[in-house]
């Protein structure tokens, strides 16, 4: 890791995470929200690896392997759901998806 303090990576992680979070809160396009969630996961991954490297363990990296695997599964299912929703309701706008409200 050289002379670079772990805080650098943590700050980068935090910024990316917050950008993803804002995207989720601000956008209404389901696909964009999906991308934002992926971004948040990646930000967390950076934190995990940074902590692992800072404490000289591989546990952080092992966790990331699992989160990536779960993210892949999530992407497959999530995109399937989005396709099914758009096929059904002809929209990917989350604000139009409230048939369970009433």
């Amino acid at each position: 890791m050289g002379h670079l303090g772990v805080e650098h990576y943590l700050f980068l992680s935090a910024i990316l995470f917050i950008i993803g979070l804002m995207g989720v809160l601000v956008r209404r396009n389901l696909l964009i929200i999906f991308m934002c969630v992926e971004l948040m996961m990646t930000a967390v991954n950076i934190s995990l690896v940074a902590f692992g490297t800072a404490t000289d363990t591989l546990n952080g990296q092992a966790f990331v392997v699992f989160t990536v695997a779960v993210a892949a599964a999530e992407a497959a299912v999530g995109l399937g759901i989005i396709l099914a929703l758009s096929r059904r309701g002809k929209t990917v706008d989350v604000d139009d998806m409230h048939s369970l409200r009433d």
């Binding site: 989720v24 809160l25 604000d95 409230h98 369970l100 409200r101």
Partner: protein, 679 residues
């Protein structure tokens, strides 16, 4: 021989499987032959086994098949074990079974469930033989339940009849009461001794004999013995669990003969005899056994006196005779009990088969008041029935005389006063037995017919049914002589190795056992001496003087003859009026007719309280309290939800906003210094 032991149970099992799977479509009527051949093969092997065992004084055959439950210290092997006792039982079971199978071919010929019947019967035979052959308590228990199942299936064989179904259920449920005790007894045995095996240095018997040295209290031994005896009570129809047996007569008559007279009901007696080393350690348990047996024999005889249903009379007679066996066990007359078991199997089986023959000839009529004069119509049935009745009544020289007499003498010879009491009860019951048996014979076969000759044409049964009657009549008449001279016959000598091992091991234990006896202790020393003497008497039975034996023989002969004579005066000449006596002793008569009101007592004081309690659980606890709680919680949550639902806008973004807000708050709390809360 021990390599072929497995054939004995296997042959009926094979017959069962074939008849069950193929009976209806493939073998059809040949299913009877399959069952008969299998049973006959089983009988042949049993006979060979018997002769093999007879060769030397204490030979024991054993065949290990496989280990059923290998689990740490809990090992249950499936091992077939044959000693003298088991070999006698094998002979009895296979002989009677074979003959009943032959008889059934004729009796069930026109029944729609022919194949089913000949599938159940071999299953029963298999289970019974395995029960006899089992070398440990658990295996015995398994097949104990299996014969119970067969009994249930066969009582309810005509399942379209409501009464048959109810009788089957009753038999099953009452037996369960006993089996719970048996099961608990097995658990207690394993808990106490750490094994369920009978034999060997680590077996139950060796450990029971040494129980004081192992630190097992006499109370525990009594508890084990009584729990096991509860099971025996259920299966052998002893008071208070005898109520199922008369109802079991709803099954086909061959079933009554085989299962509910000759074999299955004697399983309890067999089990107590098999586990006698346990009983020997508990005087009090033996006293209970003797009292129950004596009381049952008397109770059943009194009821049999006033029944009009031919099969019911014989059923109560069975209970009564089982009572003899049980009080013989309770007074330590083991050999006498087994002897009576064997003779009883033959003559009672014969009685039932004869009754079946009568039913067959009379178009399923069972009420003796509608019979009479059948002697001319069915001579073979009459003569064989008569022989069996003599045997049952205990008339010299028929089989029943020797065994019953030996049981009574054995009871009398035991040192305890209970034994004396049992002997006296036995004699009174013997009189009643002769009376009701010949009441039966006279009402059925003598005097003028009381049925309508136009409608009913009584006829002798066919060869399939008649031949077994004749064959069975031979042992019913003559088998008693193997017990002659009394106390010292070849039968007693044959069984000696099984029961003689007891005294050497028990003298030591009796110092404690004597404290539980109901004898009045003069001093401790004399009590011990008396107990030792008693043990010796119980086990060897050689202390009974010839004079006593002869005296009792004469007394019981007189009693039997007088019983027959009273029956003759009542039902042939009419000198004594039965109705007059019934009117004279009306309360007693009502008591007997209503079977001592036991069914009513059970219904009112056991069944109904449970039923009401169950209704209470359903109506109050389940519906009101449990359902009320569940519904109340649901209603509460529903009410809360109705107020909360306005929060749900249905917009995903708003929910995400909520999550983010929560995150901000949590991180804020963490930063504000409450972080210790979360560590």
């Amino acid at each position: 021989m021990e390599h072929y032991l497995f054939l004995i149970p296997l042959l009926p099992l094979v017959a069962f499987v074939i008849n069950l799977l193929l009976g209806r479509w493939v073998v059809k009527h040949a299913s009877a032959y399959i069952a008969q051949v299998a049973m006959f093969g089983s009988w042949v092997v049993s006979v060979l086994v018997f002769f093999d065992i007879r060769g030397s004084s204490d030979k024991v055959l054993e065949q290990h098949l496989f280990t059923w439950i290998p689990s740490g210290t809990f090992n249950v092997p499936v091992t077939l074990h044959v000693d003298q006792l088991a070999s006698i039982m094998l002979l009895v079971v296979t002989t009677v079974s074979t003959l009943v199978f032959v008889y059934s071919k004729g009796y069930m010929a026109h029944d729609g469930g022919f194949y089913r019947f000949f599938a159940y019967l071999p299953l029963f035979a298999f289970s019974m033989l395995m029960l006899v052959l089992a070398n440990n308590l658990l295996l015995l228990y398994v097949f104990w339940e299996a014969v119970g199942l067969c009994s249930y299936l066969l009582i309810g064989f005509w399942f379209r009849r409501r009464s048959a179904n109810e009788a089957a259920v009753k038999a099953f449920v009452v037996n369960r009461v006993g089996d719970v005790g048996f099961g608990l007894g097995i658990m207690l045995t394993f808990w106490t001794f750490g094994t369920v095996d009978f034999y060997g240095p680590d077996g139950i018997f060796a450990k029971a004999a040494n129980h004081a040295a192992l630190g097992v209290s006499g109370g525990t031994m009594t508890a084990i013995a009584l729990l096991l005896f509860l099971g025996a009570c259920g299966k052998s129809a002893q008071f208070p669990l005898h109520v199922w047996l008369p109802d079991a007569m709803e099954g086909p008559t061959p079933v009554s003969a085989l299962i509910h007279a000759a074999t299955m009901v004697t399983a309890g007696v067999y089990m107590v005899a098999r586990t006698h080393p346990i009983y020997l350690q508990s005087e009090s348990a033996l006293v209970v056994v003797a009292l129950i047996g004596a009381f049952t024999s008397f109770l059943a005889a009194t009821i049999a006196l006033v029944q009009y249903d031919l099969k019911k009379v014989i059923a109560y007679s069975t209970i009564s005779q089982l009572g003899y066996m049980v009080f013989a066990l309770g007074t330590g007359a083991w050999v006498a009990a087994i002897f009576h078991l064997m003779t009883h199997a033959f003559f009672k089986g014969l009685l039932f088969l004869g009754a079946g023959s009568v039913m067959h000839g009379m178009h399923d009529e069972l009420d003796m008041r509608k019979m009479g004069g059948l002697r001319k119509f069915m001579p073979i049935t009459f003569w064989t029935f008569l022989i069996a009745s003599f045997a049952n009544a205990g008339l010299i020289p028929f089989a029943g005389f020797w065994s019953k007499d030996e049981a009574i003498v054995g009871a009398w010879a035991s040192a305890s006063s209970v034994g004396k009491l049992a002997a006296v009860v036995g004699l009174i019951t013997a009189f009643l037995t002769a009376l009701y048996m010949f009441r039966c014979v006279f009402m059925t076969f003598f005097k003028a017919p009381r049925f309508n000759p136009e409608a009913i044409h009584p006829h002798e049964s066919g060869a399939w049914m008649a031949v077994p009657l004749v064959i069975l009549a031979v042992p019913a008449a003559l088998i008693g002589f193997i017990g002659f001279p009394p106390e010292n016959g070849p039968f007693q000598h044959f069984l000696e190795p099984v029961f003689e091992q007891a005294p050497a091991q028990t003298t030591h234990a009796n110092e404690q056992a004597s404290l539980y006896t109901i004898q009045e202790p003069a001093t401790t020393r004399t009590a011990i001496a008396a107990a030792q003497a008693a043990t010796a008497t119980e086990t060897h039975e050689t202390h009974v003087s010839t004079a006593t034996t002869v005296t009792f023989g004469i007394i019981s002969t007189i009693i039997a003859v007088s019983g027959i004579f009273v029956a003759y005066l009542t039902y042939i000449t009419g000198t004594i009026s039965a109705t007059a006596i019934g009117a004279r002793f009306a309360p007693l008569y009502q008591l007997f007719v209503n079977k001592w009101y036991l069914d009513e007592i059970y219904h009112n004081y056991i069944t109904m309280p449970f039923y009401n309690f169950a209704m209470f659980l359903w109506r109050i606890v389940d519906v009101k309290i449990i359902d009320g709680t569940v519904n109340g919680v649901a209603a509460l949550i529903g009410a809360i939800s109705q107020r909360m639902r306005t929060v749900q806008t249905g917009l995903l973004a708003n929910y995400a906003l909520g999550i983010a807000l929560g995150m901000v708050i949590i991180v804020g709390i963490y930063l504000a210094g409450f972080s210790t809360l979360f560590r």
